[in-house]
């Protein structure tokens, strides 16, 4: 198929960017979206032009490196997939595709389609852990039975890949879905309860400091999340936060 691409090009963080038009032929349905961009880049390199830079690594939907706002949607039109798992069979011959970086104040553009998501790092560093030493001298793994329902729900929250699609999907650029997924994982497990009060306060404080917006419950994040992280996590985080702050 033949595609008309409109791609955001930006030299670096301090230079203004713009949309540049490219036409690409010979795209097949079995190609992934990133393989389509690989072909474009091979063409650009062969002409001596600088290729379009984009973040990617595992190309199997788990590392959370790839991003891209495709026709206005984070990770494109398909559901429950990252951009690297999006296949060109979802598009038609002659389509125009607009490709932009994830847009949020807290995610400044580094180059072309690459954004800086280190704000997520700092939220995790603020409290996204259980304070246990890694000596291995803990109790036997089976000495605290955990209800399967809670363990499964903790796992569902823990599947977040930290890609930032939730932020890019949100009209307020809120990071509530991301932050609440980590808060929920630990809040649901007995090991995590010990520090639950401090954790939720520290992580929310850092989230606010980074300049993410607030949640107005539109649910766009849940729809666009490639891992199907549920909005319930935000409700749980709000509950945790409320009870933490009311305890003083």
């Amino acid at each position: 198929m033949k595609l008309y691409l409109k791609i955001w090009r930006q030299k670096d963080a301090s230079t203004p960017g713009k949309i540049v038009d490219y036409t690409l032929e010979g795209v097949e349905g079995d190609m992934s979206f990133l393989e389509m961009l690989d072909i474009l880049n091979e063409e650009l390199v062969s002409k001596g032009e600088e290729p379009v830079e984009f973040d990617h690594d595992c190309r199997e939907g788990i590392c959370g490196t790839c991003s891209l706002q495709i026709n206005g949607e984070p990770h494109g039109p398909d559901r429950l997939v990252t951009t690297c798992q999006l296949h060109m069979r979802k598009f038609n011959d002659g389509d125009t595709i607009v490709i932009e970086p994830f847009r949020a104040t807290a995610f400044p553009v580094i180059k072309d389609l690459i954004v800086d998501r280190s704000a997520f790092e700092r939220i995790q560093q603020a409290g996204g852990y259980i304070s246990v030493n890694t000596s291995g001298n803990t109790i036997d793994a089976n000495s605290i039975p955990i209800n399967k329902y809670d363990a499964d729900e903790a796992m569902d929250a823990a599947t977040c890949i930290g890609c930032g699609a939730c932020v890019a999907a949100c009209k307020n650029a809120s990071a509530m879905l991301f932050t609440s997924a980590k808060v929920s994982q630990f809040a649901l497990l007995p090991q995590g309860r010990v520090e639950a009060t401090e954790r939720v306060q520290s992580m929310v404080r850092q989230m606010d400091l980074e300049g993410f917006g607030n949640c107005t419950n539109t649910g766009a994040c849940e729809v666009e999340c490639p891992k199907g992280i549920s909005l319930t996590n935000i409700a749980r985080m709000n509950r945790e936060y409320l009870s933490a702050t009311s305890k003083g």
Binding site: K11, D12, D30, S32, L34, E35, D38, I39, E42, L44, V45, S46, E49, E50, P51, D55, D57, C58, R59, E60, G61, I62, C63, G64, T65, V81, Q85, I110, K111, I114, D116, S118, F120, E121, Q124, Q125, A126, G127, G128, Y129, I130, V132, T134, G136, T138, I139, A141, N142, I146, K148, A151, A154, M155, A158, T159, I161, G162, L189, Q191, G192
Partner: protein, 667 residues
């Protein structure tokens, strides 16, 4: 051969590690504050080591090329992690895990290392649960297990099909705790460009900030390389696009021996190649072989009809299917080790029974598991005499709960529903058992340069068993390296900070700058990917699942010529002093072009078949691997000279005091 002293402690196998820990020197907590350690790579091994070292009190700097430590490729491991917990009461023990691993590795790994691995495996599970890793549980609240290839017990712990992700996030959270305390400085989007030696000791690295392009100097009292495997030398592999050998290869060029490079794992269950545009291959977890049955048609005409789309696999009668693993290996069936399963798939496809349009795919079929689970579920749900449709519906639900994310991934890539029609799979490069040579302390042949996880060669011999990579990565990082490195650092308590304005740092930085300038200065005929793909083709065709002397000899010549062409004619766009993904790739491919040659040389010199290394000249009448213990019961550790083909061989004899060497049989 004094230099290749493995330093395995004396004494009975089960006491070696405890004894060693009691014998080695410690650094007192106040002195640890004066010691700096660099950890390159932040996957399971590097992340776990960084967190633990910082917790102990050392000043740690971590480096990763990704934008976050959480994105290291350990994250993609699916199926699980082994531990000899014997929670299932099926007779598991440290000894059994040790024995399975040595046998699975085709008797090419060290007894002492492997026993230590088995010994600490249980601690890993305890540790991870304490960190909040949400492993799968049974209804009674206890941890669940599944089976993996090459063993007869159920010892694999898992978190859906995302075990690597959950374990890595556990290590990452331990790192974050230390970053928050200021004990780890994390340098993300940074690449190690070279190792710096001062007075023969590893004392720092030259790194490139991948955003600004700036070249930086970082010093330390010891350097830990935990930079993963080199599977991307094949271009197409299940590794991440950025996975590379650069850090290990730079260390190799500075004096670290590279061991057993030809021991590479080709994983049997990957999604087949669909076309020339393909950039990477996707694994389907080995755990699927718990329930999936592997087959091809018995008759060639049926295979041809399926390839041409004239016959559906579901229409083929049971008696017309060849469940070749169950036929050839009745004791282990579909759960034979990876090397055996991969070769068997290749054998059937080479014989003309492949089932996709390229003829390079076999079926992985869940129909009988769906029926089996459906019947069981119907019974436990109180349904009497359920109809076929209900059974299948219930069975599909059970399969979805177990492997849902894998099935979804398959469907997205292949555009077929694996609940309704069998999956198509084919072997692909997945893991590298070879790597930097290390002693029992995980120290390379460069003093102060340590190597952990997949990047070292140590524990898996010639073939790794499923769910053992995660085990080794975390064992090295959490429980081995933090102890052993203290022994070395106890000499450094009075050294003080290592200055970065020395001539050694000047020289190393200059070399890095010259190399980049040379990469940018090619005549500009071909792109970096052009060379990488060409190298990959040579590797796959001549150093892949089956190798022979003639092909390996020609591979050495071809790679050497390709490398020369690369340095003369590669085209790298952009500039050195800015974000430049083409330059990043070029540096990595340049090193793959050297490693590939050493790989072929190693494969050529090893005149035997063992584990993942199958030489066509050395096989039994039934086509099984024919090992030669008399001549090759050693680790081949290569010393860099100048050209990889001239590398100098050092041998470490493998001593078996507790296990009798046997022909590996899974029949």
């Amino acid at each position: 051969m004094g230099i290749l002293d493995s330093k395995i402690p004396s004494g009975p196998l089960a006491d070696k590690w405890t004894k060693h820990k009691n014998d080695i020197n410690l650094v007192n907590p106040a002195n640890k504050r004066n010691i700096d350690i660099i950890v390159v790579g932040t996957g399971l091994a590097g992340g776990a080591a960084a967190a633990t070292l910082a917790e102990l009190g050392y000043n740690v700097k971590t480096f990763c090329y990704q934008d976050s430590p959480r994105r290291a490729h350990s994250i993609a491991a699916q199926g699980g992690i082994n531990a000899a917990k014997n929670y299932q009461g099926d007779g598991d023990s440290n000894y059994r895990l040790f024995y399975d691993t040595i046998k699975g590795g085709d008797y090419r790994s060290r007894e002492g290392n492997v026993y230590r691995l088995a010994e600490v495996s249980g601690n890993i599970i305890d540790q991870c649960v304490a960190q909040g890793v949400p492993f799968a549980r049974e209804y009674g609240g206890m941890l669940d297990n599944r089976s993996f290839g090459g063993v007869l017990v159920s010892r694999t712990f898992y978190a859906k099909g995302q075990t690597g992700q959950q374990l890595l996030l556990g290590a990452y959270s331990a790192m974050n705790r230390q970053i928050n305390r200021g004990k780890i400085q994390a340098y993300n989007r940074h690449e190690m460009m070279d190792l710096v030696l001062v007075d023969g000791k590893a004392r720092g690295i030259i790194a490139r900030d991948l955003v600004s392009g700036e070249i930086e100097r970082h010093s330390a009292h010891a350097v830990v390389l935990a930079t993963g495997g080199y599977g991307n030398v094949f271009f197409l592999s299940t590794n991440a696009m950025g996975s590379n050998v650069m850090a290990a290869w730079r260390a190799h060029r500075k004096g670290a021996f590279f061991a057993n490079p030809c021991f590479t794992q080709i994983h049997p269950t990957c999604i087949p190649v669909s076309g020339d545009h393909q950039s990477k291959l996707t694994l389907m977890s080995e755990s699927l072989r718990n329930d999936g049955r592997i087959w091809v048609p018995k008759k060639k005409e049926d295979a041809i009809a399926i390839r041409e789309g004239k016959l559906k696999p579901t229409e083929l009668a049971e008696e017309d299917r060849d469940y070749y693993l169950e036929r050839r290996y009745p004791a282990f069936g579909n759960l034979v080790p990876r090397d055996v399963a991969s070769r068997a798939a290749k054998e059937r496809c080479d014989a003309g029974y492949g089932v996709n349009k390229t003829g390079e795919a076999v079926f992985l079929d869940f129909a009988s598991a769906i029926k089996r689970y459906g019947k069981e579920k119907a019974l436990t749900s109180g349904l009497k005499n359920p109809d076929e449709k209900t059974i299948i519906k219930l069975g599909e639900e059970v399969i979805e709960a177990k492997y849902g994310n894998l099935f979804q991934m398959y469907e997205k890539i292949v555009d077929q529903n694996p609940y309704k029609t069998p999956m198509m799979i084919y072997p692909a490069v997945h893991y590298t058992m070879g790597g930097l040579w290390v002693d029992y302390n995980l120290q390379t042949t460069i003093p102060g340069c340590y190597c952990a996880g997949e990047a070292n060669f140590s524990d898996h011999g010639a073939n790794r068993l499923g769910a053992s990579a995660l085990m080794q990565g975390l064992a090295d990082g959490y429980f081995v390296l933090p102890y052993t490195i203290g022994d070395y650092l106890s000499d450094d308590i009075r050294t003080g900070a290592i200055p970065t304005d020395s001539k050694e740092f000047d020289e190393a930085e200059q070399q890095v700058r010259d190399r980049m300038a040379k990469l940018m200065g090619g005549s500009g005929i071909h792109s970096v990917d052009y060379y990488h793909k060409k190298l990959g083709k040579i590797m796959w065709n001549k150093c892949g699942m089956a190798r022979n002397a003639k092909d390996l000899e020609s591979a050495i010549t071809e790679i050497s010529e390709l490398r020369k062409d690369f340095w003369e004619n590669v085209k790298v766009t952009g500039s050195i002093d800015s974000k430049n993904q083409e330059l990043e790739k070029a540096g990595r491919v340049a090193d793959f072009l050297e490693l590939g040659e050493l790989f072929a040389k190693d494969a050529l010199h090893r005149n035997e078949s063992c584990g993942g290394h199958f030489r066509e000249e050395y096989q039994t009448e039934e086509g099984e691997a024919l090992r030669d213990d008399k001549n090759f019961k050693y680790v081949a550790a290569w010393e860099y000279t100048n050209e990889p083909k001239d590398a100098k061989l050092h041998k470490e004899d493998l001593v078996y005091e507790n296990i009798e060497l046997k022909t590996r049989s899974y029949k």
